[in-house]
Symmetry: C2
């Protein structure tokens, strides 16, 4: 199975309002709720692709109960989330009917105690024993040490499980030094890590810091891969209108899926770029339009770049 880790799970709420005006009162015309947090989105895409996937991370409170109830409805997905006493955060996207623009309100997440984090680490160690690959996804909730992902990377490497890391800021910086097999930053995250806004230079630097391979998601420009086997760009056919939330998570699912199927890099990247583009066309993160995916898969352009440093 593929294991995804979401330390800071979320209940993603979408509100439709006519137009958000600060300091006014708004009637919400539509309310949608779904399990959220990057690793849960990745897992739902993997499950839809037909993979057996197990989700772990931390979950708690009334919001956490809703997250778990919703996950039971996903075929192929096993819930191995670890309970904590605090409540899973809400992330609320307020969508304007008039403009289609979104205002985001993100709770910080529960305060996790050292005992709870230890319980999670034990559970994670046991789950690694039957994992073909693991993805470490998203932010860390309050109370979890900033070096936590570095520890989880080391445990995966010790267990011989390929590990993909998708986080940002100081947790990313610390965990890169623990030598993950793959990181998937977006352009901003890569620039924050390396100080360079030039993807080639930045990816080289990230590998020098410890990442075995780097796949950077560059929005409408697609993916840029810098690996020991070569460098590639995977570009979707033209710009896409839609909801970019979750596009990075779909790319992570494509990369993991290609990894466990031992696809060559160009095929992994085509799959990741097509899933990412297809998820932009879907209304919510963690979902994708299958017909659009298959059509896009044939039209993603993967080009090798000269590897002379």
């Amino acid at each position: 199975m593929i294991l995804t880790v979401t330390p800071n799970t979320a209940l993603d709420i979408t509100y439709r309002v006519r137009a958000l005006r600060p300091h006014a009162s708004h009637r919400v015309s539509e309310v949608l709720e779904r399990p959220g947090g990057k690793g849960l989105n990745v897992a739902r895409v993997l499950a839809a692709l037909g993979h057996e996937v197990t989700v772990t991370g931390l979950v708690g409170g009334a919001t956490g109960r809703v997250v778990r109830e919703r996950l039971t409805a996903v075929p192929g997905l096993t819930d191995a989330l670890v309970p904590v006493s605090g409540a899973t955060r809400r992330t609320t996207a307020v969508v304007d009917d008039l403009s289609g623009d979104t205002t985001q309100l993100n709770e910080p997440g529960p305060i996790v105690t050292p005992v709870e984090w230890s319980a999670f680490q034990e559970s994670y160690g046991r789950l690694l024993a039957s994992a073909d690959a693991v993805a470490l996804c998203g932010s860390l909730p309050p109370g979890v040490p900033v070096g936590a992902y570095a520890g989880l990377v080391r445990a995966a490497r010790a267990a011989g499980v390929p590990v993909l890391l998708d986080t940002s800021g100081e947790p990313l910086r610390r965990a890169v030094a623990a030598r993950p097999d793959l990181i998937k930053p977006n352009a901003d995250e890569l620039a924050e890590l390396t100080g360079s806004h030039e993807p080639l230079r930045a990816a080289q630097d990230a590998r020098r810091r410890g990442a075995h391979a780097v796949v950077a998601s560059l929005g409408a420009e697609g993916l840029f891969a810098h690996t020991p086997e070569g460098r590639w760009r995977a570009t979707p056919p033209g710009p896409l209108r839609g909801n970019p939330t979750g596009a990075g998570d779909a790319a992570v699912a494509g990369l993991l899926s290609g990894l466990v199927e031992r696809l060559p890099w160009p095929d992994r990247l085509a799959r990741a770029a097509a899933l990412s583009a297809a998820s932009v066309l879907a209304p919510v993160a963690g979902e994708f339009d299958r017909a659009a995916y298959e059509e896009l898969l044939a039209r993603v352009a993967v080009t090798a770049e000269a590897t002379a440093a």
Copy 2:
């Protein structure tokens, strides 16, 4: 006991952000949750005043479970809420750290089925048997007929229980015709009911439409009462800075409390105006500062108006 009815209970959420900007992403620095909906706020004030109070209305879903859990912590309050299959709505107040201004996002509430509303009506009928007074409070959730409050007013009158109504719009218009003992509109609600922005004229008209007595809450100007026993104004001592949410609910609690204690109108109005002002000074709806209340009670000016029509 005093019975309060809240058909559209709520989980009131307060978010602190630095400054709300449409179409941006915001980190919420502080999250507060409490039971909400006008009737639950009224009940908490009554319980704090030492009254035995029973709350009923509709409650459901994960949000409803949180509301009920929080209510068990209120001494003197009995939970007789009726379960529905839909989820209790969230009302979110987003408070700007910089300006102190609030942006409100209100979910519509669960869709209530005819079977669920019938079950509520039966329960309400049983509760009336031991009620000294009843307050019907707030909006109706989707699915509940617009004439619902009129039916609840008639049932209370048939049971000989004094009934206070605090709602707005068409449900208020219909229920006023069923002859409630007291309505407590604010200036806007009274104007919407009667077409007049002049409190004296509007209150006269509301009584002509069926209300036995009218107490209008006029914000910083206090309360204006138009009753068969006379007309009064109750004015707090000077303007108050704070959170006006819940000030009307505190006034309702004061009026009910004075009613069951058979206080003369001027004393009821002084209590209601002082509670209302003290609740403005408290950070959340349904609470009040007791020391401020007692100090304000001595300083509220109640003046009789000439009753010549």
